[in-house]
Amino acid sequence: MNKTIVIAKREYRAAVRTKGFLITLLLLPIFMGGGFIVMALTKDKVDTTDKRIAVVDQSGQLGTYLKTRSEERNGRDIIDSASGVKKFPAYFIDLVAPDLNDPAGQKLKLSDQVRNKQINAFVQIGADIIHPVPGKEQSRIFYYSENSLMDETQNWIGYVLNDKIREFRIAELGIAPEKVRDLFYWVNMEGMGLASQDTRTGTIKEAKKSDILQTIMVPYILMFLMFMTLMMSAIPLLQAVMEEKSERIAEVLLGSVTPTQFMMGKVIGGLAVSLTTTGIYIIGGIVSIKSMGMSDIIPYNVLPWFFAYMLLNIIMTGCMFAALGSTCNDSKDAQAIQFPAMLPLIIPMFVMMPVIQNPLGSFATAMSLIPPFTPMLMLVRQATQVTIPIWQPIAGLAGVLIFTLISVWLGGRIFRSCIIMHGKRPKMSILLKQLLKG
């Protein structure tokens, strides 16, 4: 049997049989989708404690209306009629007469009441609210609370008040309210993909509605998957090779295999590990997406590219990390070198959002054609809804292929000369000299 394969087999077994591998395999999707899962779980967890709001109505026209509406709401909407469970908090409105002599003092007094938890918030309605002059304080409505940005109550009050203000304005114009109904019908612009033709039947397929899930989630997941795969297969090679060197396992192995067989065996072992994990995730992902009835978001056309890029990326990165590992004598050396070595993998993560937003822009195009970034960024661009020129993925893949060959060759040379060299870590200049000398 080929010695490279024997080494690869051992690497694969050693990696897959550990508990750590199983745990990572299970935890990764949770970690990856963690934010979304938490959001989904807490979506229906509404705060149902009742809210007491003080209203200082300087216009004198809206306060009472607001109080009436809130009482109606308290009686009608907050309890789920079927189950009897309280779904929303009740709102209690306290009308406070405006203190015209000392408005600032009144604000402070009410603010203190909020701080003492006597009320939850207070609202100040300007006097000129029906016919506002832009910018003036009297033409505005203020909502004061401890956390005024994330507040359902604020939204509801704003909606009720605007509704009433609009009603006043229409009444002044003397138009019947039914006639202006269409006036307030806001038309949304709907984002669509492109229409396409079925190559076999010739029928024209309606364009798909593009949604956030498809535009962002699909590229995001594919890229993240590739990143995590590298984290599980190629990057540990740095540590592993360093350990084999410092524990003198390397020299024992070099009694039966050549350094190149040794290094490639390790890289191929890592490759097999990554094919296992991505295989599990992608099949699992496809099955679960299909079961959710969203099979049309699966980017089947991108998957072959994904595997091609991943394969090359692992060989490219794996060789480099194995070679760097061979230059280290202990874990301190390895730690020092790990972060800089990971930069080519981290940079695509940083620029992912701009690339997803504008996949055809010159920034995205240029970045995705730099070989170390290509596997991740070209993939992201291909996974978005736009059609990128076909030469680009091909040129990108060719670049990656050349780069991979270079890193196998370069990594092999570094590995060969460093793997049994103990003592001080070689300086860059010595490394370069060895590269030339072989």
């Binding site: 049997m1 010695k3 024997v6 080494i7 051992r10 050693a14 084999e244 524990e247 003198r248 396992i249 390397a250 020299e251 024992v252 192995l253 070099l254 009694g255 039966s256 295999v257 050549t258 049994i420």
Partner: protein, 303 residues
Amino acid sequence: MSNIIEISGITKTFGSHVAVDNLTLAVPEGCIYGFIGPNGSGKTTTIRMIMNILYPDQGSIRIFGEEQTGGNIGRIGYLPEERGLYRKMKLRELIQFHGELKNVPNPGKEADYWLEKFDLAPWARKKVETLSKGMSQKVQFIITIIDKPAVIILDEPFSGLDPVNAEVIREVILDLRKGGSTVIFSTHDMSVAEKMCDFIFMIYKGKKVLDGTLQSIKDKYGQDTVLLQTDLGAAALSDIDGIDRVNDFGQMQEVRLLPGTDPQRILEQVIMKTRISKFEMSSPSLEDIFIRIARPEKNNNHE
């Protein structure tokens, strides 16, 4: 007998340090060749160059009749000086893995055979990290010779082994030689080298200082040594002229005479002081030769 390894004029430098200096050596097929020399004298570097792990700066190494390019290391069993095993692997799996790497036809069966032979069978399914140092040594030896290679290179094979295990390994080495293998081993233990080796090669500061059969080496130094056993021990030798150096073994002293000294004169002087139970003219031991070369300027005490 043809030469299985031919080293001609190899030199290896690390920075400004010359580790091996213009070394030429021929190892005949089917012999046991001992490499001796003090620490840091170039033994391991020479061995690594034979293994193609290091490349000589100058000179050439031919092995199995062809230039050493690494293609033939599969036919060499190599036990490095510093040993390393995958600690998380189970013992039998590990031996099997190395067997596969060496293209052993039935690695599992071979593993069982050797585990049994070295009394390691009860540990077959234990992880390597649970083994004692001596056991790991034996495992290292097994993986070196599992494919009964034509050439076996052992860097300090007996260090750290108790006499019983050293005996087992010695037997296996001799068996392999009987089977036609050529064995090269380096050692600090001169008595082992003296007993086992057909040829002895000594390297000192990167240069070859001795090379040949034990007899030819000893003949070079002549009969300038007296083995002495007296009631007084080493004290009997104080204040006696004509003695170059005394290796004191406690019960016995190895006395090196100054050139031109008549052993009869020594005998006369010692006999005056004490009772002699042994007085034997001899050629120097390998150990003494080693010390003469490696520490020519040092004092007269054996350490």
